[in-house]
Symmetry: C2
Subunit: 161 residues, 2 copies
DNA sequence: ATAAACAGTACTTATTCAGTACGATTAGGA
DNA sequence: TCCTAATCGTACTGAATAAGTACTGTTTAT
């Protein structure tokens, strides 16, 4: 269960694409150019209806700004270096809440009386949150020293040797 | 999606209970006493069929050892101080794999060609893993300085003031 | 006016998870 | 020996959640 939803994964890919677009357009002196959902779909391979949904969520979360009408589209709301992975996840999947029994609007817990783990979760949660917030979008895009892709799951440590 | 399954939450509660049992029995000089699923159910409030399932998974993962037959039951496989939350999560929910497109035995990725985020995930994943591994079971059980329970989700920082 | 593009919502389908049930196996005790 | 208490393993069912799709409305450049 410690895994991102597909939409979140898409979102990060799309944001990455927008970073590229922003870099290209600013190189051409057109810093405010927007990319349409259709264009982003063709660039990322994500089906258009789905990417549109992702972009709408990101816009609602304030990570991208949208321009409506003909020649409209999306662009990053702020420089890529200021956008963290944690923010994107928060927008797409909601705030990080590792345990279910703390959800507000839900009965406290089936076993809050006897459960010995009522304390201590906040520390774990904060650790994860700062791990996520500590990684910026720009860092995700820059290739590591080695040429490896993210196959960390297969081995114990696939980090660059 | 960044949340634990209920079974994982149960598992940690059960392990905590086993820590107590181990402490009690060693105080009486019966260090190898086992607790039955029925007994643990009554102590934790978790329904017996469910707790049995949890215990089976934990036994398979090597975190508890089982004794069959009459007067059988479960006990911790190693001292509580050596068991981390990360281990329990790994046993219950599988290894931490934050992105779905790295699952072995699955098509690499829909957009591995153009996706700009192929690199960098291992760093995020490792950060989360060490955050999880850094918290030992004994630390979860010890109450914090304040008497607060884990309601960190409601406020920004519910840590002990 | 027209066409291109986003906004919002609602619906359907697929997947995953929690919970339950059943039969088999093992070990202790009468 | 026979019975009982307990785990082992698997398989099934129902519910919750997420993913994907569709449609209608609004905005804006040409
Ligand atoms: S599992 Fe909810 S209070 Fe412990
Ligand atoms: S999302 Fe799979 S390679 Fe980027």
């Amino acid at each position: 269960m410690i895994k991102l939803g597909k939409l979140t994964d898409y979102a990060i890919a799309v944001m990455g694409q927008l970073v590229h677009e922003a870099a290209d357009s600013s190189a051409q002196g057109e810093g405010t150019m927007s990319s349409s959902a259709h264009y982003l779909s063709s660039r990322t391979g994500i089906p258009e209806p789905t990417i549109a949904k992702v972009l709408k969520m990101l816009a609602k979360g304030g990570l991208v700004v949208s321009a409506r009408g003909a020649a409209g589209g999306y662009r990053l709301a702020k420089p890529a270096g200021q956008i963290s992975i944690g923010e994107i996840i928060a927008v797409m999947d909601g705030p990080v809440a590792i345990v279910s029994c703390v959800d507000p609007g839900q009965e406290p817990c089936m076993m809050s009386e006897t459960c010995p783990t009522r304390h201590g979760w906040s520390r774990v949660n904060d650790a994860i949150k700062s791990a996520l917030d500590g990684v910026k979008l720009t860092e995700m895009l820059s290739a590591p020293a080695c040429g490896k892709v993210h196959d960390f799951m297969k081995g114990e440590d696939a980090g660059c040797a």
